[in-house]
Symmetry: C3
Subunit: 283 residues, 3 copies
């Protein structure tokens, strides 16, 4: 397979770098999904890879979010992966379990499915000045479907997880570190060297020890797989509601999914869109 | 019902503010318990409320603590609530599960049952200069009975939870944030605007999405209900001990339950009271 | 029993201080293991002890790490303790469950089994300038066997736990506090007074309340005992590999287990040792 949206560099047999390169803003669309599945197949079968760095080749965006303009059937109709779940869940569950250590080097926006991706990696290092994390879905009327209601409370506690999820706000690197959303925020000028040095170090250690430690940690810290599908179902159900469509329509009119002020400052934008006329009354 | 100790303001159908107003120090006594039960009935049945802010109308005190001078029978003899547990446990368990997002805007003291209350809400924002949190019970010889041994380790980890519980010390806003006891500490001058802006934002989002996200987070982060009653039993048993009565007597003589230096600096006071003559020897 | 490597001081019946005194660097060897078992017997049976401070009598080292030059049979052949597990696991499991509150006052290095020890105590206070924590095992090719893959994710979350474990790096007091690895880092000049004041305060409280609170917190926060033995088995298996022996040999040649630059800066040293010629290929 030739990757089109992933730049995969094998710095050594043990250390791989994967840069997201889907201009203009690194949306997670059907092509990205197909390539991530292929990458996971490689990571699961390669006998030597021990550390993988995920980073962005695009200024201002790590992974913007899910491509909600793409026909959902393009992803939904893909052959089932090993878990049997929706392809995005399948990718995230497998990602957390690959034998190699996965590191997100977050510079730019990682919202929605982008945040779900970094939460499914093992270690998150963020640019203090340029990282922006968030789960913006509730601001559009949708329920985040890629596992954050399961992963985030285990990482940052119930209070901060609920705040992040229901506020749909942007969290910069510094606040994300204070909350435990990322391991550590580093000055942007130091991030790349820090991550490379860290990854090279680990990649020289005995990969059997690295893998065994990860397996032990996974056994006590991962959410059970079966927690995830109801959340994905809730996402699709909530995304289909007229009020969610209304809000999404407003956002598209303001530049959603383009390199735009709306994408740069999506957290703020969500606080300013018009509330649909028919507020929900059901409980 | 007309609330006497709660000031309930419906800023909008989706956003309610509840200010504790039980001078002089916002003790949690029988009347407060009755009113909180009534409020929960409203929150559980109202179809539109999406966000609730809890705050204080009293300078220096958010919720001082349980009113230990009141006749316990006034609360114990109340009709059973939905959980069938002690009314205070019933209130806290229901509070964590109401569909709306609950926010504590903590300015002043929130100790003992006051701390238990904020830990049962979803999100805690604290005044950096004026918030004081703590579980002072062990300093009197009593076991905290309202669930903190269950809720706090899940929020801040075993080490910090044990420190907070056995030290019976005061934690200011800044340290409470570092420990994860609160989501965030804000400069006192900014707290009210921050909380209002946050709550208004969330209240304009689709309440179905807000509620569904909360339900998913609750499913993985709340303590099982059955953990709580043994802790409440331990509270009553420990509160009846002569040595606990001795310590409480000393505290009352020094101004406990009044607007006093003792209440303002209860953590320090506990370190200075006389140790009862008969130290406990049983194990 | 006369302790040779533990200095046990009963400041009062309720407050004990235990200083590690095994020059030159407080290695955890067979004698230390025997003495810690004896100490646990005392702590489990003494009816009055309520608080125990663990500290170091040795400059620069709290507990360096396991003595890997000692014949493993000296420990393995000790009579089984109450849990029936390996003596080191037995010590750590019992330590977390003793009725008294245990406090680590960390000044100097606490790596490997030294870190495992402090993680099994209840509360960790660290010198901001002089504490160094870490799990260096993976840097030698070994899997940490004393429970950190179980205890650390529950304390600091999956991401930071994996980082600490696979990086084998040194964590100073300040970073350890930001990660939640320790409760709090204090200026070195204040650490001793702070810990003493804290411990004296708690030691004057009703020990029944202290013990009951600890039991409630333990019930919801300790890892199940049965998680630990597979990790210890993985340690021994990984320690026997030729590549681990190679790395350990290099470290001994550079001063491992002596008062040396290598021990002072073990995290850095691990990044510079030669990678064994036969990299592992099995998965």
């Amino acid at each position: 397979m030739t990757y089109k949206q992933l730049r995969v560099t094998r710095t050594s047999p043990a250390l791989w770098r994967v840069a997201f390169d889907a201009p203009p803003i690194n949306l997670i669309g059907p092509q990205m999904v197909v390539e991530l599945r292929e990458l996971l197949d490689e990571l699961e079968s390669d006998p030597l890879v021990s550390v993988v760095i995920f980073e962005s080749a695009i200024e201002d965006y790590f992974l913007a979010h899910w491509d909600i303009a793409a026909d959902p059937e393009l992803v939904n109709s893909l052959p089932k992966g090993p878990t049997g779940y929706h392809p995005w869940l399948d990718i995230l569950i497998r990602l957390s379990k690959v034998p190699a250590i996965t590191i997100s080097a977050i510079r730019g926006r990682a919202r929605g499915a982008g945040s779900e991706f970094v939460l499914a990696t093992d270690i998150r290092f963020a640019s203090r000045e340029k990282a922006v994390l968030g789960q913006f879905e509730v601001g559009t009327g949708a329920v985040p479907g890629g596992g954050t209601p399961s992963r985030l409370p285990r990482l940052v506690g119930r209070g901060r997880a609920l705040e992040i999820l229901v506020s749909a706000s942007d969290y910069d690197g510094e606040l994300a570190e204070r909350y435990g959303y990322v391991n550590r925020a580093l000055p942007d000028a130091e991030l790349s060297d820090f991550v490379t040095t860290f990854a090279e170090r680990v990649s020289k250690f005995d990969l059997r020890a690295v893998q065994e430690v990860k397996a032990f940690v996974n056994a006590v810290s991962l959410a059970p797989d079966e927690e995830f599908p109801p959340q994905m179902d809730a996402f699709w159900a909530s995304a289909r509601r007229p009020e969610t469509q209304d809000r999404a329509g407003q956002l598209f009119a303001q530049g959603l999914q383009q390199a735009s002020e709306t994408e740069l400052n999506l957290g703020d934008t969500l606080g300013r869109i018009e509330v649909p006329e028919q507020p929900p009354r059901a409980r």
